[in-house]
Symmetry: C2
Subunit: 333 residues, 2 copies
């Protein structure tokens, strides 16, 4: 295992210490329980938007804390759900008196622990809503999830809902918007290589030298199938066909498109992927009106890519364009 780490057990807290040192203008870090929160929290009168999940997917979620996106993010151990006390303490730290919206990826541990935190908070009189992201079309249920896994749409949801909260949406309106985003986003990913969880010390799975896995999960969970490595254009077709047919996306749809690195894939290859995604969308009459190309929801150093399409309406697009200022996503300010 070759990694730039000290003690495999300290990867998460040390990375958080580094983040705190790098971005004191944007974020603060609370330890024990661990959460990252906006430096200017709490924001009175604003719904607090909170997410979290296992570490190892950076920049998601901790890199998306700041103006126009998350109020707090709760990082678990690598590939391990955060515990309820993290979300509970984060919510109590950042809430502004207008309720709490939780954005939860559909993994059993995440769902259970966010639910427990929500119950604790409701018991103390807080209003809490949650939005569940289950956008991965690869498999109908998986190692760690009942139902579809939550992947790339989470990034887009955090941007859009963060902007809406900034603009003063109340909790119910925000939750309704969040469910609409969740319903209209679809993703699928693939891997060229495995990743290695630091405290495990060996690759999560094995792939042959000429093999790839289509439909991989962000923790290395099994996908749909393995096959010999193909050209990028063919790989994109294998990802786009299930994505497009699922919603289904139709001619005339406007979409926000994310071409994401699983961690170890260079930017040049992502643009080769984007080139084919754009070509397929053009042929299908689907208009990509906004895009992200880069590493946004990763699986440590895994090589591979995932594609996310979100069918966006005017409201979502206007919120997408709202300024954002976080360690990992920034525009308009």
């Amino acid at each position: 295992m070759k990694k730039l780490i000290n003690d495999p057990m300290n990867v998460v807290p040390e990375a958080l210490e580094g983040m705190a040192k790098a971005h004191p203008d944007l974020i603060k870090v609370h330890f024990n329980p661990n959460f990252v929160y906006r430096a200017d929290a709490p924001r009175p009168g604003k719904v607090a938007v909170i997410s979290g999940g296992g570490s190892g997917h950076e920049p998601m979620h901790v890199g998306f804390v700041g103006y126009g996106m998350l109020d707090a993010a709760c990082p678990g151990a690598v590939f391990t759900s955060p515990t309820p006390d993290q979300m509970y303490e984060a919510a109590k730290t950042v809430h502004g008196g207008a309720g709490i919206l939780m954005i939860v990826k559909n993994y059993a541990g995440d769902v259970m622990n966010f639910d427990m935190a929500a119950d604790l908070l409701r018991g103390e009189g807080f209003q809490v809503e949650s939005v569940l992201i289950a956008d991965d079309v690869a498999v109908e249920s998986s190692l760690y999830s009942q139902g579809r896994r939550g992947t790339g749409t989470t990034v887009l949801a955090e941007k859009i809902l963060g902007a809406a909260a900034e603009r003063g949406y109340d909790l119910q309106r925000l939750a309704a918007l969040g469910r609409r985003v969740a319903e209209n986003g679809r993703s699928m990913g693939m891997a060229l290589t495995s990743c290695t969880v630091p405290h495990v010390g060996k690759p999560t799975f094995e792939l042959g030298e000429d093999e790839m896995e289509i439909g991989i999960g962000i923790h290395g969970e099994p996908g749909r199938y393995r096959e010999p490595l193909k050209k990028a254009d063919e790989i994109v077709e294998r990802l786009m066909e299930p994505i497009l047919n699922d919603l289904p996306f139709k001619a005339g749809d406007r979409v926000i498109c994310m071409v994401n690195s699983m961690g170890g894939t260079p930017l040049s290859e992502l643009y080769i992927v984007y080139r084919k995604v754009a070509e397929i969308c053009e042929k299908s009459g689907i208009q990509i009106v906004r895009n992200l190309v880069g590493a946004y929801i990763t699986s440590l150093e895994m090589a591979g890519t995932s594609i996310t399409l979100l069918r966006a309406d005017d409201e979502m697009l206007e919120l997408w364009d709202h300024p954002v200022k976080t360690p990992a996503l920034r525009w308009g300010m």
Copy 2:
């Protein structure tokens, strides 16, 4: 070789096609000769800032084209200098009548080909100045360079000089500022793994399973030494000591610090590196006043990191904070 590519010979043009599709608001791409240029070029009365170099280091340079940074970037084949006609045609396309500043990394092919382009342009009456970046303290000369290699300071120079050009600096003032940036920046990198040039098809070098290389070049050129893999904090000490002693940086200095991924290293590990860099700077009385943590000058999928420190004066810092809007670096707009 596992990559998301089609034909190894088409990696660069296909990635450029993807970039053009993804960022039509920011950039245009010219093929044969290949260069990326600002969508709103030429900008009359502004010095045109041009850079370029071998591909495989993305986002540098093509990802830094746009408002507040480069007017054009000329990508060579992977790890291969661009040819003079690329810089010549790029300059003629984007020049705004106020001269051309070339930012050149110190590799023999780059220096020769930028010089030839400059001569051609001067022959046609253009004013051309160039700034040479030779900031890598690892080795005093290398496989592809006489004198030190040019690495991370290039990114910072492109940001600062791009802002200055936007603010109306004339060519001589811009070139003088560029030389000051070049003189005050120092970098050093290390690798955990090799990378594979697509059209070569096999790793550029071999590293043992428990080995790392300190002082690696961005094309995999040999560094200072190899040794067994150490903890991140010790690795950072091995990079920071030569950097700090070279300028030398002193107590009271204010620096812009970049902790850069060589491509395959995840963000969480970069923050572990930044944590130690910040600690060493604090102990040395050096104040990190701005930072970049991410993948900015890469070597394809190589795992590893490089650290760049630039001793910054008020003018550089003000220019650093000037808005920028490029595919890879964006703030203030």
